[in-house]
């Protein structure tokens, strides 16, 4: 009998603990529902993009882009107010994953930052043009890693994972590797809203399901697209110092001014990890393709293929975090490198000689291989 009060006490504590957790869950669900119903403050980029594509609630949707470019009317199912808000939130997440432009990032971006390590990574850094890069005339650019084209090719065989990879799992891979972060739940609003935005883009551009489009993925640059002189660390370092260091810094750690990100890190704790497809040692062709296509800003497509491979090779040799499946020893080793290398390099950091002249293959007739699922 004297044991009864003790048992009663323990049972009561357990019930109170579980009840409290249940109440917290209810509160969080209500909070999420409230955020879903709240008006969305768009980033300047999303205001322009979604305005140009005529995203408004309505029974039917007609794409101004298609009407203007193809001179045909395409009438599709319209978007409800809830759908419009989901698309807007998705656009915001792609444009500003870290929420630096938001007054309340944890509300306005579903706190996407909790799935990202470091303060630099954002979807828009790889999926440029908020996932839909176009030139001044509105032409979609080949190899621009378009989210719209990527959505239409979702569920297709992915040669890196060996899976029929759904679009949602691709997003997870981006969070884990390219953002060196954590995996959101498949049903998390962070994932679903970006899917909604990508689907809207594919509708606005009138892309057909499972068709292959030029703007999907990145123009890969294999060694066969060069004169096969080998990827050179020294040449890459000299080129990096000449072309990239001004923005990305001597150590590739990126550049921030007054809390604003000017250029993202390409090495160090804020960069992608060793298991990202951007890493030369995992896939040697993707980062080189991205560099040739997009860098340096204002001088895109000016670097030769071998230059891009050399720079990619050099960048991938700078210390960066280990991937989540590489185990604690690799993680420790990379952390050690990231802590020790920058001061050592700073001490010995004298500028190297300019790159030796290189007989290049013609840049205008490259052999390029397309990749369908670059992160």
């Amino acid at each position: 009998m004297p044991k009864l009060p003790g048992k009663l006490f323990r049972v009561t504590v357990l019930l109170v603990a579980f009840g409290s957790l249940y109440l917290v869950a209810l509160h969080k669900h209500a909070e999420r529902e409230e955020i879903r119903k709240a008006a969305v403050a768009l980033t300047p980029g999303c205001t322009e993009k979604l305005g140009r594509y005529g995203l408004t609630p309505g029974e039917q949707y007609e794409s101004p882009y298609v009407a203007q470019r193809a001179a045909v009317r395409t009438v599709a199912r319209g978007y409800s107010e809830e759908d419009v808000r989901a698309v807007q939130r998705g656009c915001n997440i792609v444009d500003d994953s870290q929420g630096t432009l938001a007054s309340e990032p944890w509300r306005e971006r579903w706190n996407a930052k909790r799935f990202i390590r470091g303060s630099h990574a954002s979807c828009d850094h790889c999926h440029r043009g908020i996932g839909d890069l176009q030139d001044a005339s509105g032409n979609r650019l080949p190899g621009s890693n378009s989210l719209a084209a990527s959505w239409t090719m979702g569920d297709m065989y992915d040669r890196f994972t060996g899976l029929l990879l759904p679009y949602e799992l691709r997003q997870m891979q981006c969070y884990i590797n390219s953002s060196n972060g954590f995996k959101p739940n498949l049903a998390d609003d962070v994932i679903r809203d970006v899917t909604a935005y990508s689907r809207f883009l594919s509708g606005a551009l009138d892309l057909k399901i499972a068709n292959h489009y030029e703007e999907q993925g990145i123009d890969e640059i294999p060694a066969s697209a060069t004169l096969k002189q080998g990827d050179d660390y020294i040449r890459g370092e000299a080129l990096y110092k000449d072309k990239c260091q001004g923005c990305h810094g001597l150590q590739g750690l990126g550049l921030e001014l007054n809390g604003q990100l000017i250029a993202p890190a390409v090495a160090g704790p804020n960069a992608w990890n060793l298991q990202s497809r951007n890493n030369f040692y995992f896939v040697s062709t993707i980062l080189a393709g991205f560099i040739c296509r997009n860098m340096p800003p204002g001088q895109e497509n000016t670097l030769q293929h071998q230059d891009c491979r050399d720079v990619a090779f050099y960048i991938s040799n700078l210390p960066r975090p280990a991937g989540d499946r590489q185990g604690p020893i690799a993680a420790l080793q990379q952390q050690l490198f990231m802590a020790v290398m920058p001061p050592l390099l700073r001490l010995s950091g004298s500028s190297k000689a300019p790159p030796p002249p290189l007989e290049h293959a013609s840049a205008s007739t490259p052999e390029k291989v397309r990749v369908e699922n670059a992160e």
Partner: protein, 183 residues
């Protein structure tokens, strides 16, 4: 006891000790061979059973466009089996049997319905007050229309139906939010 006896004794014990292990190994090997070649249970092999009508469906909807025997085509074929013979290929998720008149997705839907539903998914459903993905709709069908249980979104019973819908949508050249004009 001389050393020879001890040796025989040891040898005898060792043989006796080995016998159950060998038997266990033989049983495991026999099970694996049976599972792979003779059981007919889909989870044990990568082939997909070819149901009646598949070859015509494959030709009609241009599924071969994705390759002769790729993962995608096999997944679509499994989706075809699930769609037309749900009670047979997803018995875990339905209480229906071959005797029931409504025992498959095809009893209510056509492949075209599926494709249009796919390109119109991830939209707000005013009746339910939430945005529904295609997978959510398939799961709801398992529960309600075929009187069964909810698969996870990762289950092939859901995933392969989505792949079937995607393949048909590709054949029809549908884009996001396509409206169905003919019935």
């Amino acid at each position: 006891m001389d050393p020879g006896d001890r040796h025989e004794e040891r040898f005898g014990y060792a043989a006796i000790a080995r016998a159950p292990r060998l038997t266990a190994l033989a049983v495991i090997a026999a099970f694996l061979l049976w599972a792979h070649f003779a059981s007919g249970i889909p989870v044990f092999h990568s082939d997909v059973s070819s149901e009646r009508g598949w070859e015509k469906f494959r030709a009609d909807y241009g599924i071969g466009h994705f390759g002769s025997d790729g993962q995608f085509v096999r997944a679509v074929q499994n989706g075809y089996n699930l769609f037309f013979h749900t009670y047979k290929y997803a018995p875990r998720f339905t209480r229906k049997s071959s005797a029931d008149p409504v025992n498959s997705c095809a009893a209510c839907h056509s492949p075209e319905d599926l494709a249009y539903s796919f390109v119109n998914s991830d939209r707000f459903d005013p009746r339910l007050g939430t945005r529904l993905s295609f997978e959510d709709r398939v799961r709801r069908c398992y529960v309600a229309s075929v009187d069964g249980f909810v698969p996870t979104v990762f289950d092939p019973a859901v995933r392969d139906i989505r792949l079937l819908a995607r393949a048909v949508a590709h054949h029809l050249q549908l884009s996001e939010g396509a409206l169905r004009t003919e019935k």
